[in-house]
C-alpha cells in the first residue's frame, strides 16, 4: 500500500513540476535474480572478447553455472524473505511484480536452465572431430554449411562458446516475462528471450541446413506473432489509457471514471478491449505452442540442436504460461465470461490435435514436439479454472513437465549413429536390449508424459484436471482424459518398440555421456519420481505461491 502511494506521489510530482525528472525507484534487491543473470551474460560477452579460445569453454561454463545458481539462491532468499506472500509487491515503478507465482516460476526457470546448461556443455557424445572434443553446436556459426571455411573451422576444433551468454540473455528475458506487470515490459521480455532462442536454433553442428531452416521459420513466425501482440497492446492502450495491468483491470472493472482527454474517443470501448485482449492472448499462445499457433513447434524442435530443444521446450513453456496466467488473472478477470469460452475451444483443439497428430509421427523429436502441444492443452485446462487451485496446479504441472522434457531430450542426445543423433523412431527398435538403463530411463519419462501414477506427470495432470473440474470445466476434463488416452498410445508404443522389438542390425549406438548429461538426466528422473511419489509438499509449495499481486 505504501509502495503504491510512493508510486503515486512520484507520478504527481512528475506531473506537477515539469523541470524535475525524478529518478526511477528501482528495488535492486528484489530484481536481483534477473540482474545477476544479465550481469553474468554481459561478463560472458567480455569473456568471449578477451579470453583465449581454449580457456573460454571452462570460463563460460563456470560463469553460467555460478550465475544461474546465484540467481536461484536470490530467488530462494526472496521467497524466504516473504516476498512470495505477505511482502509481495510491484517493483521497478510498476513494471515488475515480485509475488508468489513470479518467484515460483523464476525458480523453476532457473533450475531448468541450470540443468539444461549441463546438456549444452556436453562434449563427450560427438565422436571427436580431428581429435577435438566438440559439443552439439556448430564449429563456426557464420561459416556457410559445406563450405571450405566450415571444414577449416571444424579441423581447427572451434566451438561456439557464445551459446552460454546467449542462453543467459534468454533466461533473463524468461525471468522477466512471467513477472512483467505492464504490457510494454511483457513485450520487451518476450523479445529479449525470443531473439537468443532464434539464434540458438540455428547453431546445430550436424544437419546445419535443417537447423538454419528451423531458425528462420521460428524467427519469421515469431516476428509475425510479436506483431499481433504489439498491435494488441496498442489497442488495449487505446481502451484503457495505460499499459499497466492493474490500470487496465481497473478500467475493465469500471472503477476508473476519469477519462484521458487524448483518448476520449476510444477509452472504454469494449471492441478495443476484446480485440486487443485476443491479440495479446494470441501472442502468448504462440509462445506456449497452442493450436492453431503451434505449427512452428515440430519443425523447430526437430531442427534445433537437441539441447536447445530441451531448454526451449521446458523453459519457454514455463515463462509463456506464467505470463498467460498473469494476464488472465490480473488484467482480464473481469472479462472471464468473454475469454473463457474461447480458451475452452483453444484448449480442446490443442489437446486433441497434439495427441492425434503425434500418433503418426516417425521421428522422436517431432513426436515430443506434438506431445508438448498436447501438454500445452492440458495446462490450458488448469489455466481456465480461474481458481487459486488452478494457479497452483498449473505451477506444479510446469515444474513437473519441464524436468521430464529436459530429461527426455537429454536422452535423445545419447542415441546416435554415424549421422549424429538417430532420431528416426524405427532406429530405436530394440534399444532396451542394447542399453537397458538408457531405455528404462526414457521409459520413465514417457510414462510421466503419459501421466502414469507414481510419476510427476500423473500428479500434475490430476491437479490440473481436478482444478478444471472444480472450476466448472467438466467437459474439458473429459476431452483431456480422452486425449490422454490417445497420447498414452504413442508413448507406450515407443516403450514397446524399445523393449519388445528385435533390434535392427545397423541400429544406433548409445554414447556414454560425461557427468554433465548424466547429471541432467538424473535430475530429470529424480524430480519425476519425487514429484510422483510425494507430490504433496510441492503442491503445497505451489499452493502458497498461488496468489497474484495486483
Amino acid at each position: 500500500m505504501t509502495d503504491v502511494a510512493t508510486v503515486h506521489s512520484l507520478w504527481t510530482m512528475a506531473a506537477g513540476a515539469e523541470d524535475k525528472i525524478p529518478a526511477p525507484h528501482i528495488e535492486y534487491g528484489q530484481l536481483s535474480p534477473t540482474l545477476i543473470v544479465l550481469a553474468a551474460a554481459v561478463l560472458g560477452v567480455l569473456v568471449e572478447a578477451f579470453l583465449p579460445r581454449r580457456s573460454r569453454y571452462y570460463a563460460q561454463l563456470m560463469l553460467t553455472v555460478v550465475g544461474l545458481a546465484a540467481a536461484f539462491a536470490a530467488v530462494i532468499g526472496l521467497a524466504a524473505g516473504g516476498y512470495g506472500t505477505e511482502k509481495a509487491h510491484i517493483a521497478a515503478m510498476g513494471a515488475i511484480a515480485v509475488d508468489g507465482p513470479a518467484l515460483f516460476l523464476q525458480g523453476t526457470i532457473l533450475l531448468v536452465s541450470l540443468v539444461a546448461v549441463f546438456t549444452f556443455a556436453e562434449r563427450r557424445l560427438d565422436p571427436a572431430a580431428h581429435g577435438n572434443r566438440v559439443d552439439s553446436f556448430a564449429a563456426q556459426a557464420a561459416s556457410v554449411p559445406g563450405s571450405e571455411s566450415e571444414r577449416a573451422a571444424v579441423k581447427a576444433g572451434f566451438t561456439t562458446t557464445e551459446v552460454f551468454p546467449i542462453v543467459l540473455f534468454a533466461v533473463a528475458g524468461m525471468l522477466v516475462f512471467p513477472a512483467a506487470n505492464d504490457l510494454l515490459t511483457l513485450f520487451i521480455a518476450l523479445e529479449v528471450f525470443s531473439l537468443p532462442l532464434y539464434v540458438l536454433c540455428a547453431l546445430a553442428r550436424r544437419q546445419r541446413l535443417l537447423s538454419q531452416e528451423a531458425a528462420v521459420k521460428y524467427f519469421l513466425l515469431g516476428a509475425f506473432s510479436s506483431a499481433f501482440l504489439l498491435f494488441g497492446i496498442a489497442l488495449l492502450y487505446g481502451y484503457a489509457g495505460t499499459v499497466t495491468y492493474a490500470g487496465i483491470a481497473d478500467v475493465v472493472d469500471g472503477t476508473v471514471k476519469t477519462v484521458d482527454p487524448a483518448l476520449a474517443g476510444t477509452m472504454g470501448n469494449d471492441a478495443l478491449l476484446l480485440i486487443g485482449g485476443a491479440m495479446v492472448l494470441m501472442g502468448l499462445l504462440f509462445k506456449v505452442g497452442a493450436v492453431p499457433f503451434h505449427m512452428w513447434t515440430p519443425d523447430v524442435y526437430q531442427g534445433a540442436p537437441t539441447p536447445v530443444t530441451g531448454f526451449m521446450a521446458a523453459a519457454t513453456k514455463v515463462a509463456g504460461f506464467g505470463a498467460l496466467l498473469r494476464l488472465l488473472y490480473v488484467v482480464l478477470p473481469g472479462l472471464r465470461w468473454d475469454w473463457r469460452p474461447v480458451m475452452w475451444g483453444v484448449a480442446i483443439v490443442t489437446m486433441l490435435i497434439g495427441a492425434i497428430v503425434a500418433v503418426t509421427q516417425t521421428d522422436v523429436k517431432r513426436l515430443l514436439a506434438y506431445s508438448s502441444i498436447a501438454h500445452a492443452g492440458f495446462i490450458l485446462a488448469g489455466v481456465i479454472a480461474v481458481t487459486p487451485d488452478g494457479v497452483s496446479s498449473v505451477l506444479f504441472y510446469l515444474a513437473a513437465y519441464s524436468f521430464v522434457t529436459l530429461g527426455a531430450f537429454a536422452v535423445v542426445t545419447l542415441v546416435r549413429d554415424a549421422g549424429g543423433e538417430a532420431t528416426a523412431l524405427a532406429k530405436w527398435a530394440g534399444l532396451g536390449r542394447r542399453s537397458p538403463l538408457v531405455a528404462a530411463v526414457f521409459a520413465v519419462f514417457l510414462l510421466a508424459f503419459a501421466g502414469i501414477p507414481l510419476t510427476s506427470g500423473f500428479a500434475g495432470k490430476f491437479a490440473v484436471f481436478k482444478a478444471a473440474a472444480e472450476g466448472g470445466a467438466g467437459a474439458l476434463v473429459v476431452v483431456g482424459v480422452l486425449s490422454s488416452a490417445i497420447a498414452a498410445f504413442f508413448y507406450i508404443r515407443v516403450i514397446v518398440l524399445m523393449f519388445f522389438s528385435e533390434p535392427t542390425p545397423e541400429g544406433p549406438t548409445v554414447a556414454v555421456p560425461s557427468a554433465l548429461t548424466s547429471t541432467a538426466i538424473a535430475a530429470g528422473v529424480v524430480v519425476t519420481i519425487a514429484l510422483g511419489v510425494a507430490p504433496q509438499y510441492f503442491l503445497d509449495l505451489a499452493g502458497q505461491a498461488g496468489t497474484f499481486i495486483r
Binding site: F228, L281, P292, D338, G345, V359, T360
Partner: protein
C-alpha cells in the same frame, strides 16, 4: 497391561519372520524357537487373563490404540486392539491349543527336512489368528482373516510335491475368496451405513440403521463365515484340506481357524439381533451343515476325512446356536471351546495312528490298534466320548445346551431346529463309534504298503503323547468346569448378552432325548462294525452311502453349476470382448490413425502456410471473443 496386548501378536509374528527369513542355519533349533514363541504368546494371554479376572464383569475389556493406519478424509482405519472376555476366550484357546500342537509337531515333523518352514507358517498362523480375534475394528479383523487364509493355504499345500496337496490348497484358497468377498462387501456396507467400521460405534448404533441394510450386512457376514468355517454352500474345501500335515488339520481345520466364522457372527451379534431374516439364514445354514457334515462323516473310510466331516457338522451346531441370538451365543462359544479340545485331541490321535501305520489313512486297514497304542487309544477314546456327548464329558454339556436352545427358539422353527440338532446327535454317535470301532477294535487288517513294508504299529514319542494327554484332560473336564454354577455363562454374558428362551419341552426331556438318540446311534454302529468283521474293501453301499462318499456330490454340483456355468459365461464375455469391445477399440484406433494422417498434411514445412494458419487462427479467436460478447 494394555501394552501386553500387542505382544500377543508380536511374539508369533517375530517367530514367523525369524524362521522364514533366517535360512538354513536355524534348521536345528527352529522348531523349538517356534514352540517357545507360541508358548510365550500363551503365557502373555494367561497373564492378561489373570489380570482380567481381577476386575468386575463390566470393566474387563481392555482397549489399546497402536497407530492410525489409513487416515484419509472421513475414512479412518486404526490398528487398535480390544481384549474383552470373548477375545480372551479365543486367545487362550488359540495360543493354548496352538502351543500344544507346536509341541506335537516337533515329533510329528521330525523327519521332514522343511520342518523349520513348517513352524514358521504355524507361527504366522498364530499371529494372524490372534490378530483376528483381538482387532477392534472390522478392517483389522479382515487383515487377520486374510492372514489365516494365507497360512491355511501354505500349510494345506505344505507337501507341495504331492499334486493332490497343491490342488487342495488352491481349492481352499479359492473357495475362501468367495467368503472373503462377502466380508469385504460387509465392511464396505458398514462404512456407508455407519461411517466407520470400529466395533464400538458400529455395534452400539446397529439398532438405528434400517433393517434392510442390516440384513444385507448380516448376509454378507454369513457368506464370510460360510467360507472360513466350511458351511454349506462353501463347505467343499474342508475335506480336501486334510491333505495338509495332521497337526495342521488339528489346529487350523478343527480347533481354531474354522471357528472364525462363529466368532464373526457372535461378535456381530448386535447386527444379527436387529436383522431377523439374516438370523433365519444363519440357523438354516447351521442346521443344514450339521446334518450334511454328519452324513458325509458316516461314509468316509479315510480317518481324517471322517473327522473333517465331523468338524463341519460340529461347527454347524455352533453356527446354529449363534444364529439363535442371545439365547445361543454363549453356548456357541462354549461348544467352540470344548470342541477345540476334543476335536484337536481326536486329530492328534489320528495323526498318532498314522504315525504308527506308515501314514496309512484308510480305516479299513486298521483294526485292533488299542493293544499297540494304549495312550493314543485312551486319549482318542476320551475325545470320542466327549464328542458324542457321553454324560459328564465336555461335549455333553455344550451340545445339550445347544439342542435345548434350538427348541427354545419356539414355534415350528424351534421344533425343526431342535429336531435337526437331535438327529445330528444321533448321527454323530453313529459315525464316531464307527471310527472308534474300525480303528481300535476288531481284528488287525493292516497290509504291507506299496513298497512292501509291513506296518509295525507303535506308540508315538512323548512330544506327541503329552499334548494328546493334556487335550484329553480338557475333553474330560472342560464342560463340567464351564457348566458348574454357569461359570462360562457369567463370564461371557457381559459381552454377548444372554436370554433364556421359552422351551416347549423341559430341559430334562431334552437331555433324556439326547441320551436316547446317543444310545441308538452307538447301537446301530455296533451292530454294523462291532458285531461282525469289517470288510477290507468297502461294499458298494446304498445310493445315499455312495453319494455321501462323494461328499454328497458337492464337487459335482460345483463343477456342473459353477465351473461349467462360469466357462460358458467366460466364453460369452470373450466373444463380446472380441467383437464389441475390440471392434470399438480397433475402430477408434483406425479412426484416430486416419485422422492423424490427414491432419499431418497441414504440416507441410512452408512458413507461409504456417503464417496463414496463424492468421486464420487469430481471426477466429477475435471473432469468437466478439461473438461471446454479442450472445
Amino acid at each position: 497391561m494394555e501394552n501386553l496386548i500387542g505382544l500377543l501378536v508380536a511374539a508369533p509374528l517375530l517367530g514367523a519372520a525369524v524362521l522364514l527369513c533366517g535360512g538354513k542355519r536355524l534348521d536345528r533349533v527352529g522348531h523349538w524357537l517356534g514352540t517357545l514363541l507360541a508358548a510365550a504368546s500363551f503365557v502373555i494371554g494367561a497373564v492378561l487373563f489373570a489380570d482380567m479376572l481381577g476386575r468386575s464383569g463390566e470393566h474387563r475389556a481392555l482397549h489399546t490404540h497402536l497407530f492410525s493406519w489409513v487416515p484419509v478424509g472421513g475414512f479412518r482405519a486404526d490398528v487398535a486392539f480390544q481384549l474383552d472376555q470373548l477375545s480372551m476366550t479365543f486367545v487362550l484357546l488359540i495360543t493354548g491349543v496352538g502351543t500344544l500342537i507346536h509341541l506335537y509337531s516337533v515329533g510329528y515333523m521330525e523327519h521332514d527336512e522343511r520342518r523349520r518352514r513348517f513352524f514358521g507358517y504355524l507361527n504366522l498362523f498364530l499371529a494372524a489368528m490372534v490378530l483376528l480375534v483381538i482387532a477392534d475394528n472390522y478392517l483389522l479383523l479382515y487383515v487377520g482373516w486374510e492372514g489365516v487364509g494365507l497360512a491355511s493355504y501354505l500349510l494345506i499345500g505344505f507337501w507341495q510335491h504331492k499334486p493332490s496337496a497343491a490342488t487342495a490348497a488352491k481349492k481352499a484358497f479359492i473357495v475362501n475368496r468367495v467368503g472373503d468377498m462377502g466380508l469385504s462387501i460387509a465392511i464396505m456396507l458398514m462404512f456407508t451405513t455407519f461411517g466407520t467400521f470400529a466395533f464400538g460405534p458400529v455395534l452400539s448404533s446397529a439398532g438405528d440403521a434400517g433393517e434392510g441394510k442390516l440384513t444385507a450386512i448380516g448376509l454378507m457376514l454369513l457368506l464370510a463365515a460360510c467360507g472360513k468355517s466350511a458351511q454349506v454352500p462353501l463347505q467343499s474345501w474342508l475335506g480336501d484340506a486334510m491333505e495338509g500335515p495332521t497337526p495342521v488339520s488339528a489346529l487350523i481345520h478343527a480347533a481354531t481357524m474354522v471357528t472364525a466364522g462363529v466368532y464373526l457372527i457372535t461378535r456381530s451379534g448386535a447386527i444379527f439381533n436387529a436383522a431377523p431374516d439374516a438370523q433365519t439364514a444363519v440357523v438354516t445354514v447351521g442346521a443344514v451343515t450339521l446334518l450334511f457334515g454328519a452324513i458325509v462323516g458316516c461314509a468316509k473310510d479315510d480317518i481324517k476325512k471322517a473327522l473333517a466331516g465331523s468338524t463341519m457338522s460340529q461347527i454347524g451346531y455352533m453356527i446354529l446356536a449363534a444364529g439363535l441370538g442371545p439365547i445361543g451365543y454363549v453356548f456357541a462359544i462354549m461348544h467352540l471351546v470344548t470342541h477345540g479340545f476334543f476335536k484337536a485331541g481326536l486329530f492328534l490321535g489320528a495323526g498318532s495312528v498314522m504315525h504308527g501305520m506308515n501314514d496309512e489313512v484308510d480305516m479299513r486297514k486298521y483294526g485292533g490298534l488299542r493293544k499297540y497304542m494304549p495312550v493314543t487309544f485312551v486319549t482318542f477314546g476320551l475325545g470320542y466320548l466327549a464328542i458324542i456327548g457321553f454324560p459328564g464329558l465336555s461335549g455333553f454339556f455344550s451340545k445339550d445346551k445347544i439342542i435345548e436352545a434350538a427348541f427354545a427358539k419356539g414355534g415350528t422353527e424351534g421344533w425343526i431346529l431342535g429336531g435337526a440338532a437331535l438327529l445330528g446327535a444321533a448321527i454323530t454317535a453313529y459315525y464316531m463309534t464307527r471310527v472308534m470301532l474300525m480303528t481300535f477294535f476288531g481284528e488287525k487288517r493292516w497290509v504291507p504298503d506299496a513298497d512292501g513294508n509291513e506296518p509295525h504299529p507303535h506308540e508315538s514319542p512323548k512330544t506327541m503323547t503329552i499334548p494328546m494327554i493334556i487335550l484329553a484332560l480338557g475333553s474330560l473336564g472342560a464342560g463340567a468346569v464351564f457348566s458348574i454354577n454357569d461359570t462360562f455363562l457369567k463370564w461371557l454374558e457381559p459381552v454377548t448378552g444372554h436370554a433364556e428362551g421359552h422351551s416347549p419341552v423341559s430341559a430334562l426331556t431334552v437331555t433324556i432325548a439326547t441320551m436316547a438318540v446317543l444310545v441308538i446311534g452307538v447301537a446301530i454302529a455296533w451292530s454294523q462294525y462291532g458285531r461282525r468283521p469289517v470288510p477290507a474293501v468297502a461294499p458298494r453301499g446304498s445310493l445315499l452311502t455312495r453319494a455321501a462318499r462323494r461328499d454328497l456330490l458337492q464337487d459335482d454340483f460345483n463343477h456342473v453349476v459353477l465351473v461349467r456355468g462360469g466357462e460358458q459365461l467366460t466364453r460369452g464375455l470373450v466373444q463380446i470382448d472380441h467383437t464389441l469391445v475390440d471392434g470399438a477399440v480397433n475402430g477408434t484406433a483406425t479412426a484416430v490413425g486416419g485422422l492423424s494422417g490427414r491432419l499431418r498434411r497441414f504440416q507441410n514445412g512452408y512458413a507461409r502456410s504456417y503464417a496463414v494458419s496463424m492468421f486464420g487462427g487469430a481471426a477466429v479467436l477475435i471473432a469468437a471473443t466478439l461473438l461471446m460478447r454479442a450472445v
